[in-house]
């Protein structure tokens, strides 16, 4: 979208901020009859933090999976730094996109340090033979991986727990560890799927700082979140996904004032209420919506099946397709 290449570069070697890093165009993902992601375009520029919001079941995670090669999109293309991304997750990571998962997916029986070192996998080269022979190259590479991993653990504040098992970490620290592990692959773009889900307000604020720090290191961030305050504080732009379609995209003011978003997602205009209240409101609105949707279904079965697949702008559209 923005092709403003004239801004000054962030650092030596780094691409100029503002150049398109990731470009998704017309991404569509269908599961049988269900269109989870419908013709979504999104561009992430270098040095940006982009938010992706939408009610549950809107297709945000599915969109992430399409970007990272976990799913092969039914239609559409994704390019990273101008090259079309291969549809293999490990190649996507190699290309420079790292991610975390909505439901934390650490390696539970490995230590914290080992988790991060595994993240270095695609940036190190030592093969089986080198491991068996244990030459100087092997030792050096191991030491380097370890050092870099410790750096990253210090960066997210987990260096004191390097030898703990990942499964024994408290929840918030598991999320941080997942971020450290993702950063270990030296990504140019980091995808975070609900990084503050289940965190308390302090932890959320720390995570916010962490994401800014990551951006300052020259890594662009695309983040899915439910916490509105978090998203609007953090993001340069925010895209709203509803029922698989991108409703609007823009800065916080644009998104907050868009009445379709308000209708579809927020229920009431955003006024800086804390996240917990937000969630409660959304839940209440959706419960109401579910009730509202059930009524016409029982009352008059006039347009039962077609209505569900058609995009709607009523509050009922938040209903999870499940």
């Amino acid at each position: 979208m923005t092709t403003d290449t004239l801004t000054t570069p962030a650092g030596p070697g780094a691409p100029a901020p503002g150049t398109p890093l990731l470009q998704a165009s017309g991404v569509t993902m269908r599961f049988g009859g269900l269109t989870a992601v419908n013709n979504v375009d999104l561009t992430v520029n270098t040095g940006e933090i982009i938010g992706l919001i939408g009610p549950n079941g809107a297709g945000k995670t599915t969109f992430f999976n399409c970007l990272t090669g976990l799913y092969v999109p039914t239609e559409g293309t994704v390019t990273y730094q101008g090259a079309v991304l291969p549809a293999k997750p490990f190649k996507v990571t190699q290309a420079g996109i790292a991610r975390t998962f909505q439901n934390i997916r650490l390696f539970p029986n490995m230590t914290v340090l080992e988790n991060v070192i595994v993240g270095r996998h695609c940036r190190t080269r030592q093969g089986l033979l080198s491991a068996l022979l244990r030459g100087p190259g092997f030792r050096r590479s191991e030491a380097e991986s370890r050092e870099r991993a410790m750096e990253l653990l210090a960066f997210v504040g987990l260096d004191g727990k390097a030898d703990h098992l990942a499964r024994n970490l408290p929840y918030g620290e598991q999320r941080k560890l997942e971020i450290a592990r993702a950063l270990a692959s030296d990504p140019g773009l980091l995808l975070l799927d609900e990084p503050t889900a289940g965190m308390n307000p302090q932890e959320t604020r720390v995570t916010e700082e962490l994401i800014f720090a990551i951006r300052d290191q020259g890594v662009a961030v695309l983040v899915i979140e439910h916490d509105m305050r978090f998203i609007f504080n953090l993001c340069d732009r925010t895209a709203v996904l509803v029922q698989g379609q991108k409703l609007v995209e823009g800065d916080s003011a644009t998104v907050q004032s868009d009445e379709r978003v308000i209708a579809a997602y927020l229920g009431t205009p955003f006024e800086g209420a804390p996240g917990a209240d937000e969630a409660a409101e959304v839940a209440a609105a959706e419960e109401h919506a579910a009730g509202a949707a059930a009524e016409p279904a029982t009352g008059a079965a006039s347009d039962g099946t077609t209505e569900d697949s058609a995009p709607r702008t009523t509050p009922a559209s938040q209903e999870d397709p499940k």
């Binding site: 549950n56 439901n103 650490l106 539970p108 595994v118 270095r120 929840y171 692959s185």
Partner: protein
């Protein structure tokens, strides 16, 4: 239906006795049991081991004597006697109780075996009664000691009796289809379990700070430990009748658990970790010393078979333990290696009888052939996950056996000799050393199997080295990552398919390596050696069991697992028909009581590191927050 809260402990006796009296009675009982082994337990030498002689112990009495003396020693240590502190670093009386139980079990097993085999308890001499009474007294007294146990309050019981109308508060946990008697039975079973389990579940205690040992002291300890291990192992292999082996197992199992509760094993493993190179050398030396302890070749055969089995199990551990790929047809790779070596061995029944490779070339051929098979089988199947992979590998394992069976020249091309296999495989001659001939070495005679034992030991050492180096590397970590969470591993840039194929190929190659020696040891290779499950290990089921029983992802686990799984059926010939049944029962029990295997993984040990963390109960730590996520998702639904 029930929730337990482990962690809280209590120190209470099972049998209500004053602690001082119980301790004294334990010591007296142990001494009396030891003395009773000097008496005659039965009147006729018909019972194996000759327990009729007064004055010195024979057969099973030796085991009772050992166990009771150990009990006595441990009881003395529990009095904090100065020279014995090393024996009880945890200071827990559980160790005493377990040794007393071991003495009791061994003694009573002997008495029951005598009565059963000779037809009635009339066959017991007064000495037998004395032994039985003394060991029972010891056990009861030891159960009067303050044992570390889980508190009963900590087992928070939430078992609510069902009501007839089905409106039980906890009905959700039970299938609603269950009728009232069914629910009542479930309720009673749960109550019975809860009544017993706190009595049985021991707890862990931290070790007291060790007395500082100088380096030479640690080295001596390591050497002594491995010498003791060699002694115990040799005793087990050399047991000449089933009763003695059963007694040996009873004593050994209780002894090992007791030493674990005493903290000796933890202390020992800390010292071994500290003196790693010495420990490795001592382990190797102990293993190499085994054939020298044997006067004839009878038990060296068992030794070499155990080594083959254990080496292959360790190879399987790469596939199962590290990469987490369930391979149920692994024995086929052993077969490929063995057949390849047999074909190029110059055996007259080989298809290529004119070809006689030197051994090193045969080894490379066998390993390479197995590796090629590994890749051929792995390439199409490794795209499957979990159960599907297990089923397909099971199929391929059988396909190998049946294909080999049919390549006899009539049903298919002549390659493997069909059901007759390849026989008369010549003995190896390496640098003029004929493995088929006995050799004198420093006044000791080494027979054919002892020669092969030592050769196989070199291969085992090689496989151990490969395993340990591979697992502690970028590749090994990637395998473990795939085992832990394949999707996350892919997202970390790990080429899942390629690494799984590598694990498969390496595992196959290691099995092939072992196969080349096995072909020479057994003279013949026939398809029946390479079944999914059969009476003689190694077969696929037993290999997998050795890995799981011993401890996945560890080195010593599969070695110990394989030794046990080989020895138990070999010693209990009468079990032959029930072998698979017993094997299944053993696995079920193991999965219930010790899912991590006999030797827990270093990673699983780390779990005990973090006792201080809230909510660290070994279960999902993230349980509460996970619920939050679910809650959020459901709120949106």
């Amino acid at each position: 239906m029930t929730t337990t809260h482990p962690g809280a402990t209590e120190r209470t006796p099972v049998v209500p006795l004053p602690a001082g009296a119980a301790r004294a009675a334990t010591a007296v009982g142990a001494l009396a049991t030891a003395a009773s082994t000097l008496l005659a337990w039965t009147w006729t030498p018909e019972f194996p081991g000759n327990l009729t002689i007064s004055g010195y112990p024979g057969g099973l009495q030796v085991l009772t004597l050992t166990a009771s003396l150990l009990t006595l020693l441990m009881t003395a240590a529990s009095y904090h006697l100065p020279g014995l502190r090393w024996l009880l670093p945890t200071g827990s009386d559980n160790a005493v109780a377990l040794l007393a139980a071991g003495t009791f079990a061994t003694t009573w097993y002997t008495l029951v075996a005598i009565s059963a085999e000779l037809g009635g308890i009339v066959n017991l001499e007064p000495g037998g009664y004395a032994a039985g009474a003394a060991s029972l007294l010891t056990l009861l007294a030891a159960l009067g000691l303050p044992l570390d146990r889980r508190t009963r309050e900590s087992l928070r019981v939430k078992v609510v009796p069902p009501s007839r109308d089905g409106g039980s508060g906890h009905a959700a946990a039970l299938p609603s289809r269950l009728t009232y008697p069914g629910r009542l039975a479930a309720f009673l079973a749960a109550r019975a379990y809860l009544a017993v389990s706190p009595r049985l579940s021991f707890t862990k205690r931290p070790l007291k700070a060790p007395a500082h040992l100088p380096a030479w002291g640690e080295i001596l300890v390591v050497i002594a430990a491995y010498a003791a291990a060699l002694g115990i192992f040799t005793y087990g292999i050399d047991t000449s009748y089933a009763e003695l082996f059963a007694g040996f197992l009873l004593t050994a199992v209780f002894g090992v658990i007791a030493l674990a509760q005493a903290g000796v094993l933890a202390r020992l493993s800390a010292i071994t970790a500290h003196q790693r190179p010495i420990a490795v050398a001592a382990a190797f030396a102990a293993a190499a010393a085994f054939p020298f302890t044997q006067s004839d070749d009878q038990y060296a055969t068992i030794g070499v078979n155990i080594l083959v089995f254990a080496t292959v199990a360790l190879g399987l551990n790469v596939v199962v333990g590290l990469a987490g790929l369930l391979d149920l047809g692994y024995v086929a790779f052993l077969g490929v290696g063995a057949y390849a070596a047999a074909l190029v061995s110059g055996s007259p029944s080989s298809r290529f009888s004119s070809i006689h490779f030197p051994f090193w070339a045969a080894v490379l051929t066998g390993a390479a052939a197995a590796m090629v098979f590994g890749v051929l089988i792995g390439a199409p199947t490794l795209r499957l996950r979990g159960d599907y992979l297990a089923i397909v590998t099971l199929g391929f394992g059988e396909i190998f056996r049946i294909a080999v069976l049919n390549m006899d020249g009539s049903s298919g091309p002549q390659l493997t000799g069909g059901p007759n296999g390849i026989h008369d495989i010549p003995d190896l001659k390496i640098l003029g050393f004929d493995f088929g001939q006995p050799h004198q070495l420093g006044g000791l005679s080494l027979g054919r199997f002892a020669n092969y034992y030592l050769l196989m030991l070199l291969f085992t050492v090689f496989v151990v080295t490969v395993f340990s180096r591979a697992s502690n590397s970028r590749i090994g970590r990637a395998w473990i990552a795939i085992r832990e969470d394949e999707t996350a591993a892919l997202a970390m840039g790990i080429n899942g398919f390629r690494l799984k194929l590598l694990a498969f190929a390496l595992g196959a190659g290691l099995a092939g390596l072992a196969g080349t020696v096995q072909a020479h040891v057994t003279f013949t290779v026939v398809p029946e050696q390479y079944q999914f499950a059969g009476p003689v290990p190694p077969n696929s089921a037993f290999l997998l069991a050795a890995v799981v029983l011993g401890g996945m992802g560890t080195i010593s686990g599969p070695l110990i697992g394989a030794s046990l799984l080989y020895l138990i059926p070999a010693k209990f010939q009468f079990l032959q028909n029930y072998q698979l049944l017993g094997f299944g029962v053993a696995l079920v029990l193991l999965m219930r009581f010790r899912p991590e295997g006999l030797i827990p993984n270093r990673r699983q040990q780390l779990e005990y590191h973090d006792d201080t963390l809230p909510g660290d109960t070994g279960g999902p730590t993230a349980a509460t927050p996970e619920k939050d996520v679910v809650g959020l998702t459901q709120a949106g639904a």
